[in-house]
């Protein structure tokens, strides 16, 4: 039976149209790269942890740190509080390390990288040649060359295959490299900050990640430096039955600024794959970090087969006064999303912002939101979350705003809106509000509604097809968040919103 035949079709929509659209298969990045891979043996144990550490040529302290995390992980149990129906995961039935064979000998520059790998990123629209610009940006040709530079760290399964603009960034004193390299070359920074925002035992998945993370990006922006270009990491899962565990560490020293982008895709496969990343951001006095994500992991097919389990811990620590962080996320992919990019507002007058669009279609499940922990005086936070559910998906906003007794004169504003398309999906809101002093103000607003019939009628009347009209209305609904994205991402996100909702009518 076709997955759509038992859905209620809105009046006036041809069933055939709905079926065609449903069967179109809208995930653009579902192909895989045929490349010879090298795997660590399946499963996880201390030997695997040692092996990953050894492959990355890590110093002793790093191995000890990993083993400590691994032992901690063994004592922990799976978090069960999210509104997610997670099939049992056999942590021994997957690979924890996979790298292309050609990467055994580290290529000295991008020219030495296997052309197949480069072709993969080219096909994804990710520029690994420094003269290239991000594909798909309308009007980019007219922008001066300097303004559209984006430095990219490309991670393929367990390893980073290359980082662009390293030399140019180094001139400004910025360190942008794979974290495996940072562990070897900047141990003082890594040792000081790794695990200082997300401790090893923070949660089940952060402990697992701490034990087996293979690569990821490392960024250090020195005092007073404004990054001359946007930095980005592109994650690609290619190998089957392989989990990706990347670790990102960003340190913005006093008075610095960086805008960081993150993108991700994976091939279509019948079996679900695990992705458990940790992102830590340390922001010192007067520094500012913008972190934008467009998450487009393979969401599984219409019946919920396959897809990525995206269990991610992201946290920013505004460690000193007037530090500022802004999280923007567009979550369209993944079969299951469990993700709460959070802000610790420790410094006085520090600021945290969280803008999110989460779209769940077909059988996708998303439980995502943020935590704003106000510890310093005069701290401010703002949360804007837009959840869209379609098909048979379940979409939950979960957030926590805590104002501590000493965080006087603090301010939080939260707005979370949900939109339901179709009567088989669900939209949920689970906010926690804890206010422990009188001089602070906290406001929380949430609404749930459906696509407005009048708006839809108006579009249809003007000859806009139903799906296109819905995409238009949804883009309008999510505008506040889309506007917070850097330009390169805003374009991509906008079209992603339309793609993710394909087949949702009815």
């Amino acid at each position: 039976m076709s997955p759509t035949t038992d859905l209620d079709v809105r009046e006036g929509v041809d069933r055939e149209t709905v079926e065609t659209v449903a069967n179109m298969g809208s995930y653009k990045y579902g192909w895989d790269t045929e490349i010879e891979m090298e795997y660590a043996p399946k499963g996880i144990n201390e030997d695997i942890v040692r092996l990953i550490s050894q492959r990355n040529e890590e110093p002793e302290w790093m191995l000890d740190w990993r083993l400590k995390a691994f032992r901690r992980w063994q004592q922990m149990s799976l978090p069960k509080w999210a509104m997610l129906d997670i099939p049992e995961i056999d942590f021994q039935d997957q690979y924890y390390y996979a790298r292309p064979k050609s990467m055994a000998e580290k290529p000295k520059s991008l020219d030495e990288v296997d052309p197949k790998l480069l072709a993969t990123y080219e096909k994804l629209g990710i520029p690994l040649k420094e003269q290239m610009i991000l594909a798909g940006v309308e009007g980019a040709e007219e922008t001066p060359a300097d303004a559209r530079k984006v430095a990219v760290d490309a991670v393929f399964d367990s390893v980073s295959v290359g980082t662009t603009f390293k030399a140019e960034l180094a001139k400004a004193g910025i360190i942008f490299c794979p974290i495996s390299e940072a562990i070897r070359e900047h141990p003082e920074l890594v040792q000081k900050y790794l695990g200082s925002v997300v401790p090893q035992g923070d949660n089940f998945y952060s402990a697992l990640n701490s034990a087996v993370f293979s690569d990821g990006s490392f960024v250090y922006i020195p005092p007073g430096v404004r990054s001359p270009m946007e930095l980005s990491t592109y994650f690609r899962i290619n190998a089957e039955n392989t989990g990706q565990f990347e670790r990102t560490l960003i340190i913005a020293d006093k008075g610095s600024y960086v805008s960081y982008l993150e993108g991700c895709t994976a091939p279509k496969r019948d079996t679900a794959q695990l992705h458990a990343a940790v992102v830590e951001i340390v922001i010192l006095e007067d520094a500012e970090v913008k972190y934008s994500t467009v998450q487009n992991w393979f969401p599984g097919d219409e019946d919920g087969k396959g897809g990525i389990y995206n269990f991610v811990t992201k946290r920013a620590d505004c460690r000193e006064d007037r530090a500022k962080v802004m999280w923007t996320q567009v979550e369209t992919g993944s079969a299951i999303t469990w993700k709460y990019p959070s802000c610790i507002l420790r410094g006085d007058e520090s600021q945290g912002e969280f803008y999110s669009i989460a779209i769940a279609n077909n059988r996708q499940q998303a439980d995502t939101g943020t935590k704003m922990l106000h510890l310093g005086k005069n701290t401010r936070s703002r949360i804007v979350s837009k959840g869209i559910s379609a098909g048979r998906a379940q979409n939950t906003y979960r957030g926590r705003v805590a104002i501590h007794p000493k965080a006087t004169h603090s301010r939080n504003y939260t707005q979370c809106d949900s939109l339901l398309i179709g009567d088989k999906c669900g939209a949920h809101t689970v906010p926690y509000i804890e206010v422990k002093n009188a001089s602070s103000r906290v406001e929380h607003e949430a609404t749930t509604s459906k696509v407005d019939d009048d708006q839809l009628f108006y579009c249809r009347q003007r000859g806009i097809g139903e799906e296109e009209a819905i995409a238009l209305i949804v883009n309008g609904f999510a505008k506040e968040v889309l506007q917070a994205l850097p330009m390169e991402f805003a374009m991509e996100a906008q079209s992603l919103v339309a793609i993710s909702l394909e087949g949702s009518v009815g």
């Binding site: 009567d423 906010p431 422990k436 602070s440 609404t447 459906k450």
Partner: protein, 435 residues
């Protein structure tokens, strides 16, 4: 399971046994089966633990203790002056036991009133089909052990079946007679199709209290319930309301709470027929000056039918270290189209020692709905205060006026104007005393 966890489990089981052993189960009657069932359910679910998600903001352990701390009786008159100047049918409960001498005659046109302890021995009673049923239905998806405990052991209560529109309200008054009373009562209110009733409940309850009210509204019925129980200082109280609202029926519930060391009010409302209305509101005043104050309102509204309207309005005024908690949920089941669900929780913190903890939730499985919630926490608006003072209103009076205006939305949920005025006067007096 680790050894420590096994030990904790065993200790918890012990606590439950101790708690239950300390109670006397009433003689069997038409409630016997329901009581046995509730006890079995309670043993299966166990008592709540501070780690339980549903108790994350309120420590349940004082409720778990086998016996409460004795609290000396008040020297002043225990009766609340609220609603006493009107014609009403009065039912007095002393330490949770019905006091016939102090009460009115039970005859009321359009209603049938019985007392649980007196009627219980009868084999057939209309309440037999209902007792404990709504409480049991309200146990999913979240267990409510203290409500199950109540069904099992409640000593007394009132059974009201309304068939018409009684001319006067029924007024339940609680009084205290002993310092150590651990009181539990269980009321059952059934309104037949088209029936109407106003139910008032006031007074002073025991050192620890557990009250459950089951409300069953047939199509087109209307119940207005106003409760203003005085907990007094240092007391513990749990209360649960379980309402089943059928088509075109209306349930309006308002609670006024002042003081009490640890209060937990649970309201569970389920719409089972289309076009029905339910409003659940509360005004809470907490002053920690006379002892700790922790007040928890936990609400769960389930929309299981079409075109129903629910409103939750909760306002809390907190000072001197008082803690206010609000956990509210709107669940819209698949097919409950055209639902209109609204929820607002607001706290006014009068000093830096006080706290507001909230979890306003939505869980929605139908697309053609309008659901919203809002929650705000903050201090008195200095600009408005300045305005009033510049008009010659003394500061303390200006603050009282602003608090009253903050509480007005909750109070507006009381439909009857004269009842609303009585409550406003009482609030004004309390605020002036505690200014």
């Amino acid at each position: 399971m680790s050894e420590a966890a096994v030990k904790t489990r065993a200790a918890e089981a012990d606590a439950l046994t101790q708690r239950l052993d300390a109670l006397t189960l009433p003689e069997a009657g038409f409630t016997a089966a329901a009581r046995a069932d509730a006890l079995a359910r309670l043993r299966a679910m166990g008592l709540p633990h501070p780690r339980d998600e549903y108790w994350r903001f309120t420590d349940p352990r004082p409720f778990n203790a086998p016996l409460p701390q004795p609290i000396p009786l008040e020297e002043t008159s225990p009766d609340s002056p609220l609603f006493t100047d009107r014609d009403r049918l009065v039912l007095v409960f002393v330490d949770g036991r019905f006091d016939a001498a102090a009460s009115s005659d039970l005859a009321l046109d359009g209603a049938e009133i019985d007392i649980l302890s007196q009627a219980e021995t009868r084999a057939d009673h209309w309440a037999g089909a209902l007792y404990g049923k709504l409480e049991a239905a309200g146990q999913t998806p979240v267990p409510r052990p203290f409500a199950a405990l109540n069904t099992a052991v409640a000593a007394d209560g009132v059974l009201i079946r309304v068939t018409g529109k009684p001319a006067k309200p029924v007024h339940i008054i609680h009084r205290r007679a002993s310092a150590e009373a651990d009181v539990s009562w269980h009321h059952l209110i059934r309104l037949e199709p088209g029936a109407e009733l106003t139910l008032l409940e006031t007074g002073m309850v025991g050192a620890r209290s557990n009250g459950v009210t089951e409300v069953d509204l047939a199509p087109g019925a209307r119940l207005n319930r106003i409760a203003a129980k005085r907990a007094g200082h240092q007391k513990l109280g749990f209360s649960g309301i379980f309402a089943r609202v059928d088509a075109e029926a209306a349930f309006k519930n308002f609670e006024l709470s002042v003081n009490g060391t640890l209060m937990r009010h649970e309201a569970v409302v389920e719409f089972v027929g289309d076009d029905a209305v339910a409003h659940v509101a509360a005004a809470v005043l907490g002053d920690g000056r006379t002892g700790p104050f922790h007040h928890d309102d936990t609400v769960f509204v389930t929309h299981g039918a079409e075109r129903c309207e629910s409103r939750q309005v909760f306002k809390k005024v907190l000072k001197n270290g008082a803690v206010g908690v609000f956990q509210g949920k709107i669940l819209v089941k698949p097919g409950a189209q055209k639902t209109d669900g609204y929820q607002i929780s607001q706290a006014l913190l009068l000093d830096d020692d006080s706290q507001f903890l909230g979890k306003p939730e939505l869980e929605i499985y139908a697309d053609d709905v309008q659901c919203s919630h809002g929650s705000t926490t903050g201090a008195i608006d200095e600009t408005a205060l300045f305005y009033l003072r510049s008009r010659g209103v003394p500061k303390s009076r200006a603050i009282v006026l602003m608090i009253l205006s903050f509480l007005a939305d909750a109070l507006a949920e009381v439909e009857d104007e004269s009842l609303r005025e009585d409550i406003a006067e009482r609030l004004d007096a309390w605020l002036t005393r505690h200014a």
